[in-house]
Amino acid sequence: MTEISTPSHKRSRLNPTLARYLQAFTTPKGQIALALIVLLAGVALLAPVIYPQGHDLQTRDSLLPVSWAHPFGTDELGRDILVRSIYGLRTDLALASVAVPISMILGTFLGLSGALSPRLGVLVQRALDIIVGFPGLILAICVVLVLGAGWTALLVAIVVGGLPSFGRLARATLLSQQHQEYVIAARTLGVDKWRIMVRHILPNAIDPIIVQGAVFVVAAVFTEAALSIVGLGLQPPEPSLGILLNIGMRYITIAPFYILGPTLILLLLALAFSLLADALNRTVNRT
């Protein structure tokens, strides 16, 4: 990793990296995580095939109790809660799969920006401190208010919320690496700063960031749920796990199974990505 690699080395270096991450799935935790993620993502992707009638099939049967036809009962407008939960999962996974990579890449870059200019690095770090300091949801709520409730606002809120954690990890690597001999050597040799950042520092930062990415999926879903609780989530009739929780909370004494469905799905989702993060963490630390 210390030598300056030429393009021909690139392919041979990338593959082992990928293989290293894949090794995570050989551990028991990794296998459980893989099984859960395949299950959840599979159900979410296939939802329109399994339930071709869609998630907005309203009937006059409001708040039916649990039955074989409706494993979690029906909602206030007579729609099957299981179907809505699965479509909700689909919404949340779609949101996370767009927002998490964006936040990850942007956050990492911001964290490493200190390699271009130490002053910029400190400035970015302070900016991220401000984001961290915003009390919990308030930043997300403000973002949604300014942009108007909907998919875009939710996306921006999640991306911004994730920047500090990725930025901090990248910066920690930068701080520990920038005084290493090979970096100092590269700098004295006049290697381009961008090149130092991408070629030397980034590879050292990538492991913890990938692990954090898995953790952040849960945080992204959490942001969606929390915004929905305040009533600023997605637009109806699109269900999301957060919206189901929000409405279900109001029927908690009459129809407790209303929130049980989405809660269990969220729990599985959280567990899956946390196990994945664990497995990845262990694998990258072993090698």
């Binding site: 006059r60 206030e76 208010l145 009533g231 637009q235 109806p236 109001r250």
Partner: protein, 509 residues
């Protein structure tokens, strides 16, 4: 549909309620209840108090304000006839252009100062200013003059006959001109009622204490009434069940359903809300009357009432109270759920597949209503999309009359007379978000505002209703009452037509 109308009359008729009000109003007849004084009553409410807004009705003030403040008159919820409170009597001039009012001479403010006609004048003039935000302030702007003719008498001259003058009296509390400026932080909220405003902890509670020098001693049985601010319905229900509170206000029908058949609790209706679906007549496809009518046919109002309001609401096409002159079942059911007819009209207008953005405030009941409306409109070949706005954003645009092509509104103004609604409802007044204002409409409105007798008002209301239904610029979906739940040991609690709680005569068995 006929069934729902018959049921719909229920919410606005309650003999127990009327008897209670009469008892409070007449004061002395309550002697039959040999009550003991003492104890604390705790009421929960979902919104915080706004002492700054004494003259504008606010959800956070409705539970307590009528126990601290009084008005000249109070409308009997059954007969809709005004009953005297602070006014002893009134005489309307033959030409309908002035009114002589005689006040009680034994009324004092909580500061101990006797109330005089000057205070009434001050209260009316304050209500007329825009910063009071009074919903009935526009009526006071029709006053030519207010002349104080004695310590306890005054004469109001009108610019024109005001058939809704009692709506103004009903909503305009008599305020103390010496302390009104210091009300905002709750330190000096001074009225003439049986309870004094003693303490306000923002976001937590309001505490009232008995006013010992009240003119009648047969009232105010509790030493203290605490209004706990509990925004979460589950928490306020839990508080009621554990007897931490004895009355819970601000619940939705979904929350109260479990109490309806429970003998330990009783449910009281408190005012109500009108839920219209409006469209802007200048924005295609709604510039075509046929599309507007199609929408009125397409929406399944009964399902909205059953699933969102659990059948507690009144399914109607009209803004007026079912007890109002000129209200008829025929008009109220002008549009019934008829998707086939809606499709035909849309086809005739050539509006199939039109995309319709509908602005919805981020309020749970509105979201549910929207989901049903969306489902209904899709069924008839339109493509509705929700634009959910935060409540502050929504309010701002409603006030400015700028809500885009279509919008779901809610007006908590059940209990006003029809002429008042005409000017106070954002959906109907000048500058409405439907951008509907033309000579025919103005002429019909003027006829209604000018009617001096109930018969004339009835005819004018029917004529205007027919016109409005045909134009279909704002379609009422349902009128639903507010609900309060109380433990059944509590007697003598009364709600006014506008939904404020009157607790002076209440006591625990």
């Amino acid at each position: 549909m006929t069934m729902s109308v018959a049921r719909g009359c229920g919410p606005f008729r309650s003999s127990m309620l009327a008897a209670g009000i009469a008892a409070v109003l007449l004061g002395s007849t309550a002697a039959a209840w040999a009550q003991e004084r003492g104890g604390i009553l705790t009421v929960s409410q979902s919104a915080d108090a706004q002492p700054i807004n004494i003259l504008a009705l606010r959800a956070g003030n409705a539970p307590w304000i009528r126990n601290v403040f009084e008005t000249l008159t109070l409308v009997d919820p059954q007969t809709f006839q005004p009953q005297p409170v602070l006014a002893q009597s009134w005489t309307l001039a033959e030409d309908g252009l002035s009114m002589d009012i005689t006040l009680r001479d034994d009324v004092t403010f909580h500061t101990g100062r006797p109330m005089t006609a000057e205070d009434v004048k001050f209260s009316f003039e304050t209500a007329a200013t825009p910063e009071s935000a009074s919903q009935v302030g526009f009526i006071a702007r029709e006053f030519e003059s207010i002349e104080v003719t004695g310590d306890h008498s005054l004469t109001i001259a009108f610019k024109r006959p005001l058939s809704n003058i009692f709506d103004f009296f009903e909503e305009t509390y008599i305020i103390d001109r010496e302390t009104y400026d210091q009300r905002e932080d709750g330190s000096q909220v001074v009225g003439t009622g049986p309870y004094m405003f003693s303490e306000w902890s923002p976001g937590a509670s309001i505490i009232l204490k008995r006013y010992e020098n009240y003119r009648s001693t047969d009232t105010a049985w509790f030493d203290e009434i605490e209004f706990a601010v509990i925004p979460d319905p589950t928490a306020s229900i839990a508080a009621l069940r554990s007897n931490r509170t004895q009355i819970t206000t601000g619940l939705t029908p979904r929350d109260t359903v479990e109490f309806i058949r429970n003998p330990q609790f009783s449910v009281l209706e408190t005012g109500g809300t009108i839920y219209p679906l409006g469209v802007n007549v200048t924005i295609p496809p709604f510039d075509d009357k046929l599309v507007r009518q199609a929408i009125a046919y397409a929406v399944d109002r009964d399902r909205i009432n059953d699933q969102v309001f659990l059948g507690t609401g009144t399914v109607t096409d009209l803004f007026w109270s079912p007890a109002a002159p000129g209200y008829s079942g025929e008009l109220a059911n002008h549009y019934t759920y008829d998707p086939d007819r809606a499709r035909e009209l849309i086809a005739e207008a050539g509006a199939e597949g039109a995309a319709i953005p509908i602005i919805v405030p981020a309020i749970p009941s509105q979201r549910s209503i929207f989901e049903i409306v969306q489902n209904n409109l899709r069924e008839v070949g339109l493509v509705p999309e929700a634009v959910v706005l935060d409540v502050a954003d929504f309010d701002q645009r409603q006030i400015a009359g700028d809500l885009g092509a279509a919008f779901l509104l809610l007006h908590g103004q059940v209990g006003f007379s029809s002429p008042t609604l005409l000017s106070s409802l954002p959906s109907l007044r000048q500058g409405n978000p439907s951008a509907f204002w033309n000579d025919d409409y103005v002429a019909l409105r003027e006829a209604m505002l000018a009617s001096a007798t109930p018969e004339a008002l009835g005819d004018a209301t029917a004529a205007l209703s027919e016109y409005m239904l045909d134009e279909a610029f704002s379609t009422v979906l349902v009128q639903a009452p507010g609900q309060a739940v109380m433990s059944s040991g509590l007697q003598g609690v009364v709600a006014t037509v506008r939904g404020q709680l009157v607790l002076a005569g209440s006591y625990l068995e």
